[in-house]
Amino acid sequence: MSKKVILSCVALAAAAVAVPFYLEGFWLQAGLFAMSAAIGAIGINLLTGATGQLSMGHAFFLAVGAYAYVYFGSEPEGGAHALGGLGLPTPVAALLAVLTAGVAGGVFSPIAGRLKGAYLGIATLALIFVGQHVLFNAEPVTGGYNGRTVPPMELFGFAFADTPELVVARVPFGSLERLWFLGLVLLTGAALFARGVLRGRPGRAMNTIRDHEIAAGVMGVPVARYRAGVFVLSSMYGGLAGVLIALVFQRTVPDYFGLLLSLDYLAMIIIGGLGSVAGAVIGAIFISMLPQLLSRYSDALPLVAEPGSGGVSPAEAARILYGAAVVVIVLFLPGGLLGLAGRLRPAVARLTPASARRARATSATSATSATSATSATSATTKPPLSPSPSPSPDTRNR
């Protein structure tokens, strides 16, 4: 079993590494968008999925991350539109940007710690609107409506940019190819960290705050502080996603970090699966790839009309599909796509003899648990009428 997991991990890693050697820029960029989205989605899943705190302001923290990186990493510019900058080494700028996003989350913590549910959700809307206002008005830092050029990341003298030119295995390595690897590393790190948090002491506390706030407090969890803490953590994930997306864009523009982006993130975790790392990643891939694929293959899709020809355009089709996916998944797949995967897995596993043995073993334990459940109430042990309720796929922390 574990051998299989390792093997599939290795295969996955190999595939991920091979991608830049075979796929063109469009795909690399789409992949990078998905990676950035996945990082951000993991963050909001920690907050909304695992802790039950609805946030509609995630895009704000992406903005903070992106702009802070630019500000910390750029040299100041004079001229008609004077732009500030600290000119720090870019890795330091990236780190500081993530921290800044965390601080921004922390500043919001009096709200984040006190509110919940719909009230918090709508309160966080304020972040979007205030954020946009600041992005447009704090020109010396943000460049206003023009946005700012993003300095390419440079790690130990290696630039994640198109220049200097680099050819690996006869494939020209431009910024997208290089960033691909950076994205992979960041995403893997972010995912492992979140998994650790969810499976560890903080994760349990978060889940209990979601399920029963008072009980959490009485069990020793400082509820408001934890709420605020998770908010900060999720902001930092947003910040990291912002840094990555800025590197891919090469330029930050304020319009991008609007309400729609926030809603996208909510859709991601619903579609992927609430409360888990894998769910966030699956949802992020789905949501960020769907419009691009539809647009790219619009000519080949029967339903979708050519742009400009009337009828449902690819962008419209993508939006309708996306909205419908949210609805359909909640109606028919309560665990999200991840839950679906979880449900399919036993079916697939049954095909292989090794896992068949395992399946039998689990059904045996469930039978015993059913037996003991009944013996708790009746002295004479009767055979169970039915298999005990199979645990609903626990999608909490995969």
Partner: protein, 399 residues
């Protein structure tokens, strides 16, 4: 590997006809990208642009194409979303030689560096000064600030605004409004006017509060650099509340779709807008032909300012291609260079443009147009294109 890359130096080759080719050009085909908005806030504009350009390419193809090659448009709809625009650009960049129109200045801004690196001749359909200063990006006609300067000049000359008067300026947050504001600030300072600013966001619909503020200040005229909806509200409320002053808008402030709304009468009364692009109702052969051809090809669609705008933008790109063909080089760099070699382009479309410098607007000439129910495109030329003296002295901020 045969992997195509978007960025960096694009591969080039020499074809059988001795013409050097690059991305988007094959032996018999030239592909031109259209980065448009068909689903977002500028959908109507995007649709007109796209259709007009497709019309132009068809006509060119019918006349033998360019450099022995047929033109083909590759259309991508970004729905006014920066990420989709970046994604779409990355997708089409290796496949096209130029971008005949690109809707949305935030999107063009986001891609500025790449467009420059790719030497992709791009015609944005926005007129903010922030888009100037890039060799590959060609802003057509005037920028918003020039229009506003010419507009203030028009107010002074024809509407009796004089030194000491207050005028209002209602503008959008963002590069459009703020470019325009630069112009109005400059002009009112030059003429000794006091400028009353009111900044709004695109989500604002009701201009009552702004009208109240203008009224309180006693403005004698109002400049308008917002969307058509806001214009309608502003003009309608002003009139209803007895603030009967002239209004002068930027070219994006007006849309003929407003005429049937309750604000229609107010718009017809004392509203003008400044534009470098000739209204399609203008009495010019090129416009008449375009109107006829367009109506023939797309009988069910209304004609708005996107039609002449898109059509002439397509002509700019095709002319650049033709010039590049003369030099037997259809690589992108050569196309941009050929384009930048033209100093007086487009007399047949109205205003003449100079493409040789790229840190100045291609023209300083603005028409004063006026809404008109009966006219094609909902507007007529009120005053022929002219450059005010103010505009000539004005230093356009770049970038």
């Amino acid at each position: 590997s045969e992997k195509a890359t978007g960025g960096g130096a694009a591969p080039s080759a020499v074809g059988g006809d001795g013409v050097k080719t690059g991305p988007g050009v094959t032996a018999d085909k030239i592909t031109i990208g259209l980065m448009t908005d068909l689903t977002g806030p500028y959908a109507s504009f995007g649709k007109s642009l796209t259709q007009a350009q497709q019309l132009y390419f068809e006509q060119t193809n019918a006349a033998g194409g360019v450099c022995g090659r047929q033109l083909e448009a590759l259309v991508r709809d970004h729905g006014y979303d920066a990420q989709k625009a970046v994604a779409a650009y990355t997708e089409i960049a290796p496949k096209v030689v130029a971008i005949a129109h690109f809707v949305g200045s935030p999107m063009v801004n986001a891609l500025k560096q790449r467009i420059e690196a790719d030497q992709m001749l791009t015609i944005p359909q926005a007129w903010a000064t922030g888009l100037l200063g890039s060799k590959s990006i060609q802003v057509t006609g005037t920028t918003y600030d020039i229009d506003m300067i010419n507009g203030v000049d028009f107010l002074a000359k024809e509407k009796g605004i004089k030194s000491g008067d207050k005028i209002g300026h209602l503008y959008f947050e963002g590069d459009y409004g703020e470019s325009a504001l630069n112009g109005s600030k400059y002009a009112s300072q030059k003429l000794g006017l006091t400028l009353v600013e009111q900044k709004i966001k695109a989500t604002d619909q009701d201009m009552s509060a702004q009208v109240a503020a203008f009224k309180a200040e006693g403005v004698k005229a109002v400049l308008v650099s917002v969307g058509p909806r806001q214009t309608a509200s502003l003009v309608g409320v002003s009139l209803a509340k007895g603030m009967d002053v002239p209004f002068v808008g930027s070219n994006s402030a007006y849309s003929p779709q407003l005429l049937p709304t309750p604000a229609g009468p107010a718009l017809l009364k004392d509203f003008y807008y400044m534009t470098a692009g000739t209204p399609i109702s203008a009495d010019m052969p090129a416009m008449k032909k375009l109107a006829a051809d367009y109506a023939a090809k797309y009988p069910d669609t209304a004609i708005d300012s996107g039609v002449p705008s898109g059509y002439s933008a397509a002509a700019i790109v095709v002319d650049a291609l033709k010039k590049a063909c003369e030099g037997k080089d259809l690589t992108r760099g050569a196309v941009v260079a050929a384009h930048r070699g033209q100093s007086s382009w487009g007399a047949e479309f109205g205003t003449v443009m100079d493409f040789t410098t790229f840190d100045k607007p291609a023209s300083l000439l603005s028409y004063v147009a006026k809404p008109d129910k009966a006219a094609l495109g909902g507007a007529v030329v009120f005053k022929e294109a002219a450059t005010s003296d103010l505009a000539k002295e004005y230093q356009v901020p770049v970038g």
